[in-house]
Symmetry: C2
Subunit: 165 residues, 2 copies
C-alpha cells in the first residue's frame, strides 16, 4: 500500500496495491474504456443515444440496405441481442426495416429522415467528444493508441478465428 498526497498536501485515501492487475491488459482496457464511455455519455446526454445505438445508426447510414445480421456482425453483436436494439430505434422512428425482395427472410435497414437528422447531431457530438479527448491526450498519444488498438484487435481476431476452426 502507498500513501499519496493530494494537491493541498492533505493525506489522500490509502491506495491499495493492485498487484498483477497493474500490468494486466484486460484490466487496463476495462478501466480506460469505462472512463472514455463516461465522457461519451456526457456528450450524448441531450441526444439520448447510447454508444451501441450510435454505432448502429452510423453503420446503417454509411451502408444503407444492409441486412440486420450484417449490421450486427459488423458491430460484434449477436443476432439475438440485436433484435431489441433495432426495435428500440425503429419505435423511436429512427430507422426502418424494409422487406428484402431478393431474400424474403431478411430485412434491409435504412435510416428515416428523423434518424438522419439525429445522426447529424450525434456525429457532431461524437466529434466534439473525440476532440476533447485529443486535446487531453495530445496528438502523439492519441494517434499511437488509434494505431495500436486495432493491431491488438486484429491479432486477437485471427487467434480466435484459428481457435474456432
Amino acid at each position: 500500500m502507498t500513501n499519496v498526497q493530494n494537491a493541498k498536501g492533505e493525506p489522500d485515501a490509502v491506495v491499495p496495491d493492485l498487484g498483477p492487475l497493474e500490468s494486466s491488459l484486460g484490466y487496463r482496457l476495462r478501466r480506460v474504456q469505462l472512463r472514455v464511455f463516461e465522457d461519451f455519455a456526457r456528450a450524448f446526454a441531450e441526444i439520448g443515444l447510447r454508444p451501441t445505438q450510435f454505432s448502429v445508426l452510423v453503420v446503417i447510414a454509411r451502408n444503407p440496405g444492409l441486412r440486420q445480421s450484417e449490421v450486427a456482425h459488423a458491430l460484434g453483436i449477436q443476432r439475438t441481442n440485436f433484435v431489441p436494439l433495432v426495435d428500440s430505434l425503429e419505435s423511436r422512428g429512427l430507422l426502418e426495416r424494409r422487406l428484402s425482395q431478393q431474400d424474403r427472410r431478411s430485412y434491409a435497414l435504412h435510416l428515416t429522415e428523423e434518424g438522419s437528422a439525429i445522426l447529424t447531431r450525434a456525429l457532431a457530438a461524437h466529434q466534439a467528444h473525440e476532440e476533447r479527448l485529443a486535446a487531453l491526450l495530445g496528438p502523439e498519444l492519441r494517434n499511437r493508441l488509434l494505431a495500436d488498438l486495432p493491431k491488438l484487435d486484429e491479432l486477437l481476431r485471427r487467434e480466435a478465428g484459428a481457435a474456432n476452426r
Copy 2:
C-alpha cells in the same frame, strides 16, 4: 464498402464501412476489451472466476483487512453493486467478512485458505493469459499499450474529478 478475400482466395463477406467509429477511441477500446476478455474467459473457464471476481480476490490478498468500500473504490465498483459480489465469493468460501473492532459499521475483508488456494491457480492462469497476449503482440506493442492506457486513464480521471467539483 470493401470486398476482402480470405486466405483461400474466396470472397469473404462484405465488410461494412464503420466511418467515424474507425477512429473512435471509445469504440476501439470497447472492441479490443471484449476480445481480450474472451481470451481471459477461456483461461479462467476451469477456475470459475470472472474478471471482476478475480480482481477482488487479488486486491484482498495484497491488502488484507481493507474495508468493503475501500476494495470497491479501488476497483471502480459502487458500494451497492459490490455487496452481491462479495456475497457470492463469501458463499463460495473464498473470503470472510470480519467485523472491524475500530468501526463496527464496517467489515474487514480477508481471504480464506480456500480463497488463497484458488487465487494461486488464478494467478497462474492470469499470467499464462498475459503471456499468451505478449507472445501475440510482441514486447514493444505490449509495453507501449501498458504505458499508454494508464496515461489515458489518469488524464481522464483528473478531468472527471475537476468536472465533479
